[in-house]
């Protein structure tokens, strides 16, 4: 298993990143830090899918004179561009909700908010 993991180190790295994000979401009480964790998890998924599209020694999929195969798979990149935009959208909405919570309650610590209920 270790040898196979070493071969797929890129994928393993995104698993590690995913766990870091999950850790932040679970343990941090500050809502902004929680959303940072969520963003790290999103980044892990993006990195994983982009890594799936890599071809060894491949060039960027931009045609034109002087480039030759192999090319990197363009599909994951296009998919992830969409994913990044959606991630930005959710982050913006989440942060605006945090601002709203701050205005209403005066705190963005999850435990303090739970007490205030």
């Amino acid at each position: 298993m270790i040898a196979a993991l070493w071969q797929n180190l890129d994928y393993a790295a995104s698993v590690a990143l995913f766990c870091i994000g999950l850790y932040a979401i679970i343990t941090k009480e500050n809502l902004i830090k929680k959303f940072m964790g969520l963003n790290i998890m999103e980044t892990a998924v993006f990195a994983f899918i982009v890594a799936l599209g890599v071809v060894d020694g491949g060039e960027a999929p931009i045609m034109g004179p002087g480039v030759e195969a192999p090319f990197i798979n363009p599909l994951p990149q296009a998919l992830i561009l969409t994913g990044i935009v959606v991630a930005v959208s959710t982050t913006a909405l989440a942060l605006s909700l945090v601002i709203r919570i701050w205005r209403q309650c005066g705190t963005i610590e999850a435990d303090e908010l739970r007490e205030a209920e």
Binding site: A12, L22, N73, V88, L93, S96, I99
Partner: protein, 238 residues
Amino acid sequence: MRRALVILLLVAVSLPLLLAVSQLPPHGDPDNPPHVHIAPRYLESGPEEAGAENVVTAVILNYRGFDTQGEVTVIFTAMAAVVAVLVMGSTGTAPAERSAAAVPVSVIVRFIVRVLAPFIAVFSVYVVLNGHVTPGGGFQGGTIAGALVIALTLILSEQDARALLPRRPERLLQAAAPITFFVVGIAGLVIAGDYLAYPRTEALRWLTTIMLTVVELGIGVGGAMVIATIFRTMGADR
């Protein structure tokens, strides 16, 4: 106790993932499943068929144009939601005295932003307009332009910052990306017979390029406005 539970959970999550990852086909192998189905076709005929030498752009704007239209709608909706959450429901807490207590921007930041601003602006236009032949495109260029607006907002006074974004057609520009997609989609319906289709014939190649450029511009302007608006709405009162 809590810490132990968290570590246990993380192990329970990461072990199956690592196990699955270790059984994937080797990273970078040209014969991996993602590379053998539809990607070769895109790579082979993308430039002629879709009219964009950058195949990523071809996939985004042409093969999967519907996806991208949904995407620009998502980011526009997010902006609308941010405005709704922060502006519409606010209980009139006056955004009057702002930035009296804020940290003054240092001279260095001010100077650097001023020097770099024109270059950033030119670069964003370049990235937007050249997206179909070089790395880049509407979203990337729009984000750069949005970042420029944010940087300028940081160093300028409230009034000057407000003058950065035009007040009059503001709503229209914020919706630029979905509107452009709709217009170009209808144009494709008229010209090529399908919504968001582009003319395929060699004689109409220039028309495809124009349509792609218009879509890129729309995405760029819309994206920049959305990012700047989100930023400004969040910083409206501090």
